[in-house]
């Protein structure tokens, strides 16, 4: 019988197109899976389906105008992206922003991070097959969106930063709403653990899947929670503090396991850290101006300027090359997702199809940030 099978039945590897329209690829990403039965032999990633040439567009816009384009990169951490550009331009112009601006920016960043992680929690649950936690994540995110809408005027593409400050002062309700939110989130976050983190099925699905060790994480240029799950200490907020991060107490969350579950736990713990940062700042917002007056036409001195921030997905960097003109000569965005996605093949070799979905969602990619 064994001979009959090997002689007469040929098995071959086959290819499966995952995407560009596929529920698990979070946007228009195409994965070409080379499969042996259910086991993944190789993954080819095909990018570029939402390429909008944002870097090129930046070359035709003034420095004030660039900022709103970065909303459309990683739309879930749009505030951090804005902040990176604003900080880079301020660095070039030598503008020192008031303390109030720094605190406002930090608080907004942490709110955005929480919102992004809350959404990721829901989407991750959905990729693993549990649909209910999706709405739990959105419940918390909706409250943050309301805070954002009240102060910034938009829910997602806030465009709140500008060179030399922020666009509007904080709304009078802001402090009260943030305090309410912190109280609400502290009550609801344990639900997340009960429904998903402690669930035996979820643990079995996430543990020992998508392993990447510390050396490889550095080699692939991973950053953010994805790298910290492998034990790489790379939190820009700690290593190169910007805005008000040098005046708050928080822990950099690292786990050494390097599997999907470690990355999951990093994000859950980061939500708690975000809450504690918010709690430290919400009563200590210094009085002062919310922006400094800048010239109508900004001309960056000749040279190159790099600023990195910790976005919800990792290190987001902006590199501006200026020729002393009012338009930048070249703008390059270092997006965390591109580097993080590059490690997918390494993580997902030899796993099942279902694990590819789990690993992809544990990296937490946002496709527009990859394609730019």
């Amino acid at each position: 019988m064994g001979e009959f099978l090997t002689d007469n039945i040929k098995t071959q590897e086959y290819f499966l197109n995952m995407g560009p329209q596929h529920p698990a690829t979070h946007g228009v990403l195409r994965l070409l899976l080379q499969l042996n039965g259910e086991i993944v032999e190789n993954i080819d990633m095909d990018l570029g389906y939402v390429h909008r040439s944002i870097e090129k567009m930046c070359e035709h816009d003034t420095y004030q105008q660039i900022i709103h384009l970065t909303d459309r990169l990683d739309y879930l951490s749009s505030h951090m992206n804005n902040e990176a550009v604003a900080l880079a331009v301020e660095k070039g112009l030598g503008i020192e922003v008031p303390d109030r601006v720094k605190v406002i920016r930090t608080m907004m960043s942490e709110l955005t991070r929480f919102a992004s992680h809350a959404l990721w929690y829901g989407v991750n649950a959905m990729d693993i097959g549990a649909i209910t936690p999706f709405m739990y994540g959105f419940r918390e995110r909706e409250l943050i969106n309301d805070i954002m809408e009240e102060t910034c005027g938009a829910r997602l593409t806030m465009n709140y930063n500008k060179v030399g400050g922020v666009r509007y002062d904080l709304h009078p309700n802001f402090q009260k709403k943030v305090k309410d939110f912190i109280k609400h989130a502290r009550k609801k976050l344990p639900d997340y653990d009960a429904v998903l983190s402690n669930n035996i099925i979820f643990k079995k699905r996430m543990k020992n899947v998508g392993f990447i060790d510390k050396d490889n994480a550095v080699l692939y240029g991973l950053s953010g929670p994805t790298a910290r799950g492998s034990g790489v200490s790379c939190d820009v907020r700690k290593v190169h503090p910007y805005s008000a991060y040098d005046r708050v107490q928080f822990n950099e969350i690292t786990f050494t396991e390097g599997d999907s579950y470690a990355r999951y736990r990093v994000r859950i713990r980061e939500m708690w850290e975000s809450l504690s940062i918010l709690e430290q700042l919400v009563d200590n917002i210094p009085e002062g101006d919310y922006k400094v007056k800048t010239k109508a036409v900004l001309k960056l001195p000749e040279g190159s300027y790099y600023q990195k921030v910790e976005s919800a997905r990792g290190e987001f960097g902006v590199h501006i090359l200026s020729r002393g003109d009012k338009l930048p000569y070249r703008v390059k965005f270092r997006s965390p997702n591109f580097a993080n996605l590059s490690a997918l093949n390494k993580m997902a070799k030899g796993v099942k199809i279902a694990d590819v979905v789990a690993i992809l969602s544990s990296i937490d990619i946002v496709v527009p940030d990859i394609d730019r």
Partner: protein
């Protein structure tokens, strides 16, 4: 022995999850207290957007059909997307008989607008502002091109750039 503790631990974790979801189910089943969604088209009358909400760019008009836009093109220059066009006309002052440039149409392409707010910041006379309407859907994209100053409207006299 770990075999049995696996089973009991697993069952315990599953029951923990079911407790949480079950709690929400029974609360919602009897009281609808934890329901977070809104019944959108039904609450249109009571739905109030926040003051700073960026829905679309509108031009403020007073009761005499007058606005503050002098047509200085600051917004046109500030717009990153070319969503605003200002069209001029020659206006003859009846008293002096001199021809002077004046605003004819303030054209706003909603379809190109990214709601960044730079035009409104750039406006020296605060003529344009944010409208709270977000029902932008149309069947034809030509309807997304709007003329912001109403027909026959004038600049409030004394408005300076």
């Amino acid at each position: 022995m770990s075999y049995l503790s696996d089973i009991t631990g697993g069952i315990k974790s599953l029951l923990g999850g079911m407790t949480v979801t079950g709690k929400y189910f029974f609360i919602n089943f009897f009281t609808r207290k934890e329901v977070i969604t809104e019944e959108y088209p039904d609450n249109m009358d009571t739905l109030k957007m926040y003051d700073r909400f960026r829905g679309e760019v509108v031009m403020w008009h007073n009761e005499n059909n007058e606005h503050k836009c002098t047509g200085c093109s600051s917004c046109e220059r500030a717009c990153p997307n070319g969503a605003i066009e200002i069209i001029w006309k020659k206006e003859v002052n009846p008293e002096t008989g001199k021809a002077k440039r004046a605003i004819d149409k303030h054209i706003y392409h909603l379809g190109m607008c990214t709601m960044c707010g730079l035009c409104i910041e750039a406006c020296p006379t605060d003529a344009i502002e944010w409208g709270q309407d977000f029902h932008h859907t149309t069947y034809d994209r030509t309807q997304l091109t709007k003329v912001l100053n109403k027909p026959g409207s004038k600049v409030i006299s004394g408005t300076k750039e």
